[in-house]
């Protein structure tokens, strides 16, 4: 928090994003013959072109978008709750979004209109944010927040199993892993298309809240004295988190730890203001999920791991270190 913003951060993150995107695009069960793709650009029906355009490109785009949503939502929630442990996964918002998506998807509502699946995720995520806000309180202690998160996560994940159990679909029960650990495997451009409008709207809400979050870091009175309407601004952020997390989870399941880890990595590089954390967290979130997606494809190409396995392998130890450091600082 003591450090000054680094001028090179954004160019560096953009470069990392491009490289991670390329790496993810080139990962897969087969090496892609790029010469084949470009030379046959006009020739329809080339397998390499089909694989690149219809399978890998939508998948990588979705991985990047989902990561950006989670990183951004994590940074915004940590600013809103003024709590460094408030990531959407840890406090149960992602699981609530997954519950909303599960109900709309498995009970046939998602087929009625394109927007109903992300809308289900949105409603679930909104309920999750509001619950955590009221349970943990405005001046949430770390312990209060984590306990509320444990409870919300437990209830939401058991309701996901319950909903899947009631679904008549024979495959539903085995898909619980997807919803709890997340994956972008076999995504198509349709998944990208239904999520993008919600994601962009959420990004606008959250990226526009930077100044309010800066003001909020001086406390509610401080923000109020600077002329902010606290209730309205807070609602704005809650809607933004619900839009981004709801849309991301409804097309990729619950990819954990991104929203927790990414803002922590970025914070020392941007200085004390939470508002400055938002955009870099979004880009770094995209990088993290793209790298995780490349990793799941490289580690086990035949039977892919779920994304959440890799992000938790990185995020879990990071979380432990965070807890250790907080205890250490408290002493």
């Amino acid at each position: 928090m003591r450090s000054k913003p680094r001028w090179w951060l954004l160019p560096f993150l953009v470069l990392a994003l491009l490289l991670a995107f390329l790496l993810d695009l080139l990962s897969g069960p087969f090496p892609l013959k790029l010469s084949e793709v470009f030379s046959s650009g006009a020739r329809k029906g080339s397998v390499d072109a089909l694989v690149l355009l219809e399978i890998r490109l939508p998948r990588s785009i979705l991985a990047g978008l989902v990561g950006a949503c989670l990183g951004l939502a994590g940074a915004a929630m940590q600013g809103l709750l003024r709590n460094p442990l408030a990531g959407p996964g840890l406090v149960g918002v992602s699981n609530c979004a997954a519950l909303g998506a599960v109900i709309t998807f498995y009970f046939g509502f998602a087929g009625l209109a394109w927007y109903l699946l992300p809308l289900g995720g949105l409603v679930g995520a909104a309920l999750g944010v509001m619950l955590i806000f009221f349970l943990a309180g405005r001046e949430a202690s770390v312990l209060g927040l984590i306990l509320a998160g444990v409870a919300i996560n437990a209830v939401a994940s058991s309701l996901i199993s319950l909903a899947l159990n009631f679904s008549e679909n024979p495959y539903a029960m085995s898909e619980i892993v997807y919803w709890l650990l997340g994956s972008v495997a076999d995504s198509s451009i349709r998944d990208v298309a239904i999520a993008v409008p919600f994601m962009f709207a959420g990004w606008l809400c959250l990226l526009g809240s930077g100044r309010f979050l800066d003001a909020l870091s001086f406390g509610e009175e401080g923000a109020q004295s600077m002329g902010f309407n606290i209730g309205r601004q807070r609602a704005f952020i809650i809607v933004g988190v619900a839009l981004t997390v709801g849309a991301a989870v409804s097309v990729s399941g619950n990819v954990g730890f991104v929203g927790l880890v990414v803002p922590h990595l970025i914070r020392p590089l941007v200085g004390a203001e939470p508002g400055r954390l938002l955009l870099p967290s979004a880009i770094a979130g995209a990088v993290m999920v793209l790298l995780a997606d490349a990793a799941v494809q490289l580690l086990s190409p035949q039977q892919e791991l779920k994304l959440g396995v890799v992000t938790a392998l990185v995020g879990g130890p990071f979380f432990l270190w965070l807890v250790y450091r907080m205890r250490h600082e408290a002493v």
């Binding site: 897969g28 069960p29 087969f30 029906g45 397998v47 089909l50 694989v51 219809e54 399978i55 998807f105 498995y106 009970f107 046939g108 998602a110 087929g111 008549e168 679909n169 024979p170 495959y171 539903a172 085995s174 898909e175 997807y178 076999d186 198509s188 451009i189 349709r190 190409p301 035949q302 039977q303 892919e304």
Partner: protein, 278 residues
């Protein structure tokens, strides 16, 4: 080479007689039979008269999964729970080789006779399973009749299909594709197709990633999705735009999964349907 699907009738008759003798000599024909698995349900409905059937599993009455759902009629249904089964006081419980082991052990400890019907990985296995079940039920004539009908439909005198065999893939929800050591794989081979799953070394079947599927460009896609109108991620995978484009450019068939999900005479119909696609 196509493996011989000819059922050696003399051998089967002999097996039937020996099994009948062994079973018959030991027990009376069961009169209150309970089946707890979709495959044993169907065999029971085919082989035993209704008055000897106390209960079949709820799956047997679902026409999406059971080829003989219309035969269930008023027969009570069970969900393979021990208390339900005990309530019928069965003198024979038919379970599948892979049925819940704890349930089977508990039923046996309670003194019930539980017979495990083996699974089938080939057309010969199907004939053996039918003969074995007919013997358990002491219905040798019904068993022989089914086998003869199946034999006629398989038409063993028919000339072996010419090489090269067209490459086919069975693609089920989740991208699962059965290999040679499975009943659908055996049906595919008997119908004269090469199986992509075998070519990839998946003898028992495995998930074929979408990219791998597209690269091998099979001549025939056989989509095995029994409830295409349901919503699951497993089935969503079958509607991926890249797969749809590729399927549109080659031959495609939808097969009724009931034909080959269990060792019943329906497998002969599956072979006949796929032969027509060659």
């Amino acid at each position: 080479m196509i493996p011989s699907v000819k059922l050696d009738r003399r051998c089967l008759w002999l097996t039937l007689l020996i099994l009948c003798y062994l079973c018959g000599g030991r027990t009376q024909a069961a009169e209150r039979i309970v089946s707890i698995n979709l495959c044993t349900d169907q065999l029971l409905l085919l082989l035993a008269p209704v008055e000897r059937i106390s209960s079949v599993s709820f799956m047997a009455a679902n026409p999406v999964y059971s080829a003989y759902a219309e035969r269930v009629g008023q027969i009570p249904l069970n969900h393979a729970r021990v208390e339900e089964i005990v309530a019928f006081d069965p003198d024979l419980v038919l379970a599948y080789e892979l049925s819940d082991r704890r349930l089977v052990r508990l039923l046996r400890e309670l003194g019930y006779r539980v017979e495990l019907v083996p699974g089938a990985k080939s057309l010969e296995d199907v004939a053996t399973v039918i003969a074995h079940t007919a013997a358990l039920l002491q219905q040798p004539a019904a068993g022989a009749e089914l086998l003869a009908a199946m034999d006629r439909q398989l038409d063993p005198g028919r000339a072996a299909p010419a090489d090269p065999r067209p490459l086919a893939v069975i693609y089920a929800p989740n991208g699962y594709s059965p290999g040679a050591e499975t009943l659908p794989g055996a049906v595919l081979e008997a119908a004269g197709f090469a199986n992509l799953s075998d070519r990839l070394g998946n003898q028992y079947g495995a998930v074929i990633p979408l990219e791998q599927l597209l690269r091998h460009q099979p001549d025939l896609y056989i989509i095995d999705d029994q409830e295409p109108n349901m919503n699951s991620l497993a089935q969503k995978k079958l509607r991926h735009p890249a797969l749809e484009k590729n399927i549109a450019a080659s031959a495609t068939a939808r097969i009724d999964g009931r034909l080959w999900s269990c060792p019943t005479p329906m497998v002969a119909q599956a072979v006949a349907e796929l032969r027509d696609l060659r």
